[in-house]
């Protein structure tokens, strides 16, 4: 039997790696991919606790997380394509339209 702490450590590791991608990378696409990674690590936590406590609600919430992620990615990539049409760059520090 695998200790639950192992799952939590793996999820924390993946979360920190995803956070590093969000904070440090320059490319918008890779920032979005790192966000996916962080969401997946949270899903691991949900399923691990659901498994230990024998509660199916963990899996239910994980299903909703996946559904919302699919919607989020579709909108984010739509915004990205619209943004690139106006401003021909993929670098996050040059996308300062809202700041002025």
């Amino acid at each position: 039997m695998i200790p639950t702490a192992w799952y939590l450590i793996l999820a924390a590791t993946l979360f920190v790696i995803g956070g590093a991608g969000v904070l440090l990378r320059r490319n918008v696409l890779i920032v979005l991919m790192s966000l996916e990674l962080m969401l997946n690590s949270v899903t691991i936590n949900l399923l691990a606790f659901g498994h230990v406590l024998q509660d199916l609600r963990g899996q239910i919430i994980a299903i909703f997380v996946i559904a919302i992620t699919a919607a989020e990615v579709a909108v984010a990539l739509g915004i990205l394509v619209a943004l690139l049409r106006n401003k021909n760059t993929l670098e996050v520090d040059e996308l300062t339209v809202l700041k002025g």
Binding site: M1, I2, P3, T4, A5, Y7, L8, I9, L10, A12, T13, L14, F15, V16, I17, G18, G19, A20, L23, L24, R25, R26, N27, L29, M33, S34, E36, L37, N40, T43, I44, L47, F49, G50, H51, V52, Q54, L56, R57, Q59, I60, A62, I63, I66, A67, I68, T69, A70, A71, V73, A74, V75, L77, G78, V81, A82, R85, T89, L90, D93
Partner: protein, 183 residues
């Protein structure tokens, strides 16, 4: 046997997650993320959630990553792959990450409530079935399920509207105007 599987899968997942961050080419990042997501799907099977594993493969690897790869193909990524990291945000970003990871380590090792909840990892005899999952989803969580379908519809329409170019929208009206002028 389960522990060896866990160590193998989590090791590959961690290495491919690091590859996502380090790779120069966004296509390589996307493929490394696909590898990582497949490993995580296998971990879901170990966690007694085979349905979630299949959904993970379908939605993430099948839909989301293909969408990413399509966008990468549409865009010109060669120019941006020269410099990988933000220059100004490097120091504050690393500081934030060190604080975050320290916080997570303290939380995982020191919290007594968490240890009480986790226990030593007892053997679980009854595997939850997909039938029980669907009964719970369509009885207790029916309203969130319907709301999620509305959210997906809104996201679909929003993505179509956002990705449609201005050239597709305006010329229709101007063409009509020109036609009227000519008449």
């Amino acid at each position: 046997m389960e522990r060896e599987f866990f160590l193998l899968l989590s090791g590959v997942a961690t290495v491919s997650a690091l590859l996502v961050i380090v790779a120069r080419n966004p296509v390589h990042s996307a493929l490394a993320l696909v590898a990582c997501l497949v490993q995580i799907a296998a971990l879901y099977v170990l966690l007694g959630a085979p349905f979630l594993a299949v959904i993970q493969i379908f939605v993430y690897v099948g839909a989301v990553m293909v969408l990413f790869l399509f966008v990468i193909m549409m865009l010109d990524v060669r120019k941006e792959s020269q410099r990988r990291y933000l220059k100004h945000a490097l120091l504050p970003g690393v500081v934030v990450l060190v604080i975050l990871s320290g916080e997570l380590i303290v939380l995982l090792t020191q919290s007594t409530k968490l240890h009480a909840a986790m226990g030593p990892g007892q053997t679980i005899t009854t595997q939850p079935s997909v039938e029980a999952l669907s009964l719970l989803l369509f009885q207790d969580f029916l309203l969130p399920f319907e709301v999620a379908s509305v959210i997906l519809l809104v996201a679909l329409i929003g993505a179509v509207v956002l990705a449609r170019s201005e050239a597709d929208v305006t010329p229709v009206r101007s063409r009509k105007d020109h036609g009227e002028v000519r008449r």
